[in-house]
């Protein structure tokens, strides 16, 4: 997508706004401290649904008393009609597995263009439950699957069937009924390519919008299903779930290493996402009016963020430490604002001196929350053609200077040290699952994925330098003709010179690499919360907690579901 002149001039040139330095923003630890914001894809999707009043109705409800069967939702947007087809099947506990290598799930579903007739439904029924082992056509544009939360699902059914409401404390610990274990889009398994989705299904033409929509619908189906089962179990005593509790139930998600290669392999897209977020921040620093009403709003949001963080449950030691630091930061931040708040620049500067990275990035999300008029329109520019072009004209001397300037971080690593090359990333024979190997004792280094950008840049720089000693006038075109093995990294370096937020500044081959930072960064762009790392390689989290319910489409909407808090206990709600 081409940016309008107003945004280009805010990013580059004499009228550019003060964007934060690349070295600061793209540091991997800071990226791993990002939080959801107004620009997160879930927020953006829900805004569109609510503002355009999408009509989402059940077209077919064929569930048995246990909640197994088929459901079709009909989604009518201003542009088109779509169908979400859900298959719910019995799954034995021993078959329930969240890993990508699983082959059976509680729920499988497909988002489809248009209405679904019997023949098409039959085709979907034969393929969708198989997921990777099935095939679909270009009418389908998202395939997903989900497993029940063993801790919550039966418990909530029992409660509702008995006429009671679930304990809020249980929902604070696990805020969902289902966990998605994969959400496939963009051409996987025969589905419509992104090129079709973005041009024909314009309601979903923002990044991961269709995938997020399926997760939102899964959340709504999960609420329907528990009530359906509870009602059939005991129609006499059954009571529906309170709306406030429903709203607090989101969708669980398990995310593993697959997101890390995505972030490295799509630098133009990452650049655009970060660039728009940084532009939003820069707009606020320059244009954001500060007044007592806004200061009160900020203090209210800080208090909410504190409570939200207190309600986040994790057994991970590092995440627990991060959450505690964040709580301390938020307390200090509130005190500072009450004593001395004169403007955003000074507050950001203060946070960099007194808060952890978690706290600093939370402040950024809070600032974005306060200025929808400066932030929200940037959601329209989060898509970009992911095309890295080689510039054959560029003199090799200029290329060398670019590497020295833009990739000083990469050149700073000592690759003669074995520790710097201790890890390698590869695809396993098991469903091509991305994995992280130890170079010193695991096979497969010869088949590693080229994710060690820093190392590739170092090797490229050394060859460029040695070539220049022989021929100082050489062009990139001639150099790459002689050194075709550098074509990929040369193209990246040249492209990233114009897209400076595209490279995550980390050596992914280092013995101390923490992939969790990359996972967290992408998940923050998605808009998830309640990060609960289960190792340094995968994380559980919660999506769409606090989002409006389907029944609330068309009702007043203030887009204020940032950092959703647990509702009061059921007794208080009833009172």
């Amino acid at each position: 997508m081409i940016l309008p002149a107003s945004i280009i001039s805010a990013l580059h040139g004499p009228r550019a706004l003060p964007l934060r330095a690349v070295e600061k923003v793209m540091d991997v630890e800071r990226l791993g401290a990002m939080h959801q914001s107004r620009l997160s894809f879930m927020r953006s999707l829900v805004r569109r649904i609510m503002r355009e009043c999408w009509q989402i109705e059940i077209d077919k409800l064929a569930l048995d008393q246990q909640g197994y069967g088929t459901v079709i939702y009909r989604i009518k947007t201003p542009n088109r009609v779509y169908s979400l087809v859900i298959f719910s099947e019995f799954l034995a506990d021993e078959d329930r597995n969240d890993r990508v290598i699983a082959s059976k799930w509680d729920l499988t579903m497909a988002l489809v263009d248009g209405e679904v007739d019997d023949d098409y439904l039959q085709m979907l029924r034969e393929n969708v439950p198989k997921q990777e082992a099935g095939r679909v056509d270009a009418r389908v544009f998202v395939l997903s699957r989900a497993n029940r939360s063993m801790r919550n699902f039966d418990y909530i059914v029992d409660k509702l069937a008995g006429g009671e409401q679930p304990e809020i404390s249980k929902l604070s610990a696990v805020g969902y009924l289902y966990r998605t274990t994969a959400v496939y889009g963009s051409g996987k398994l025969g589905m419509a390519d992104w090129e079709k989705v973005s041009s024909c299904f314009v309601d979903f033409n923002r990044p991961f919008s269709a995938e997020m929509f399926v997760c939102l619908m899964l959340r709504n189906f999960s609420l329907l299903q528990v009530e359906h089962i509870a009602k059939h179990r005991s129609a006499q005593s059954y009571r529906p779930m309170h709306v406030e509790i429903k709203r607090f139930i989101g969708i669980g998600n398990s995310t593993g290493l697959g997101m890390a290669p995505y972030l490295i392999n799509h630098p133009l897209l990452i650049n655009r996402w970060v660039e728009m977020r940084e532009l939003a921040l820069a707009r606020i620093r320059v244009l954001g009016v500060v007044n007592p009403r806004l200061q009160q709003h900020l203090l209210m949001l800080i208090e909410r963020a504190k409570t939200y963080t207190e309600q986040t449950v994790t057994e991970d030691e590092r995440q627990t430490g991060n959450n505690q630091n964040l709580l301390a930061d938020l307390t200090k931040l509130a005190q500072h604002i009450q004593q001395d708040f004169s403007g955003w620049d000074s507050l950001l500067g203060w946070s960099e001196l007194h808060c952890s990275l978690q706290g600093q990035e939370m402040l950024v999300s809070l600032m974005l929350e306060l200025y929808p008029e400066l932030v929200d329109e940037l959601e329209n520019y989060l898509v970009v053609d992911d095309l890295l072009d080689l510039d054959p004209l560029m003199p090799l001397k200029e290329l060398q200077a670019i590497i020295q300037q833009r990739y000083a971080w990469a050149l700073s690593y000592d690759f003669s040290s074995p520790q710097a090359l201790q890890h390698f990333w590869y695809r396993s024979q098991e469903k091509m699952e991305p994995r992280l190997g130890q170079a010193s004792f695991e096979p497969g280094e010869d088949r590693q994925m080229p994710l060690g950008i820093a190392y590739e840049v170092r090797k490229c720089f050394d060859l460029v330098t040695s070539h220049l000693q022989r021929d100082p006038q050489q062009s990139t075109a001639h150099f790459v003709l002689a050194q075709p093995q550098l074509r990929g990294i040369l193209r990246r370096v040249q492209s990233m010179n114009k897209s400076v937020y595209g490279d995550i500044q980390v050596n992914l081959l280092d013995e101390n690499v923490l992939p969790m930072h990359l996972l967290r960064c992408k998940l923050a762009f998605f808009g998830v919360g309640k990060f609960d790392p289960k190792s340094k390689l995968w994380v559980r989290n919660t999506m769409f907690q606090g989002a409006p319910l389907l029944d609330e489409i068309g009702q007043p909407f203030n887009d204020d579901w940032f950092m959703p808090l647990a509702p009061a206990s059921p007794q208080v709600v009833e009172a």
């Binding site: 051409g187 390519d193 290493l257 001639h478 990929g488």
Partner: protein, 248 residues
């Protein structure tokens, strides 16, 4: 036949070329070229299928070398490599020379699967340079081909015709590329030497083919799809208890 998406084809081809010894950068180019041709109705998969028996041989051949060069011309010997791993770099040099000299000629010798130059010249057109390419193929019956794109355009024109020309050693596996930053090049095959119809795909027709592929995806023979994926398995690492500990 089976239905696949373009991104599936691209990802499978990348693995296939990576497993066959293509460099990073080259394997993306190679996959892009095939998908681009197929997407635009220009028989990318058929051409790829014809080179499959030779796929792994290129890693043992010398890299492209410059035979001759002056300010407006260059002759490159590709040492019987597939254009999939060398033509993009040759077109890059053509682009450079056209920018510097106004018009440039690149002759690539000993290069196979030259149809894939269509993608490379289209990239040049997108970057504001006009390109024309010409090549011949066949010993008993010579077919000649030409493709061109105007500066700033998105789609090329393409023609091919069976001819009564006699076989020439010099023309075999040779490709001529003319590139200009100042003139729009639009070659057309002469009817005089053509035997039968000249097959012509206009830029408009190629654009229509693309739209069809975007909406419907791509059809591929099940055998070819299986073969692409089988070769691509070469990049996968066996799963062990230890490797499962490195899974997320």
């Amino acid at each position: 036949m089976m239905h696949i998406s373009m991104i599936e084809l691209k990802a499978a081809l990348r693995r296939c070329f990576e497993a066959s010894g293509y460099f990073v950068g080259n394997y993306e180019d190679a996959a892009d070229m095939i998908v681009w041709l197929e997407k635009h109705g220009l028989q990318g998969l058929a051409e790829f299928k014809s080179m499959l028996p030779y796929l792994c041989q290129d890693q043992d051949k010398p890299l492209s070398t410059i035979v001759y060069e002056d300010s407006g011309a260059i002759v490159i010997d590709s040492h019987n490599r597939s254009s999939l791993n060398c033509i993009a770099a040759a077109v890059d040099v053509a682009y450079l020379k056209a920018q510097q000299a106004g018009i440039a000629t690149v002759t690539v010798r000993n290069c196979h699967n030259r149809r894939f130059v269509l993608k490379a010249i289209t990239d040049c057109g997108r970057r504001g340079v006009s390109v024309a390419a010409y090549w011949q193929n066949g010993k008993n019956k010579v077919t000649e081909y030409t493709a061109s794109i105007k500066a700033g355009h998105r789609y090329p024109n393409y023609s091919e015709a069976l001819t009564d020309l006699s076989y020439s050693d010099q023309q075999q596996q040779s490709l001529t590329i003319i590139c200009s930053a100042r003139v729009d090049l639009q070659p057309s095959l002469k009817k005089g030497s053509a035997v039968g119809e000249i097959l012509y795909s206009s830029a408009q027709k190629i654009a229509e083919n693309k739209q069809h592929s975007v909406e419907q995806g791509i059809e591929i023979s099940t055998d070819l799809w299986g073969e692409i994926n089988r070769i691509g398995e070469g990049v996968l690492v066996e799963s062990t208890d230890q490797s499962r500990r490195g899974a997320g």
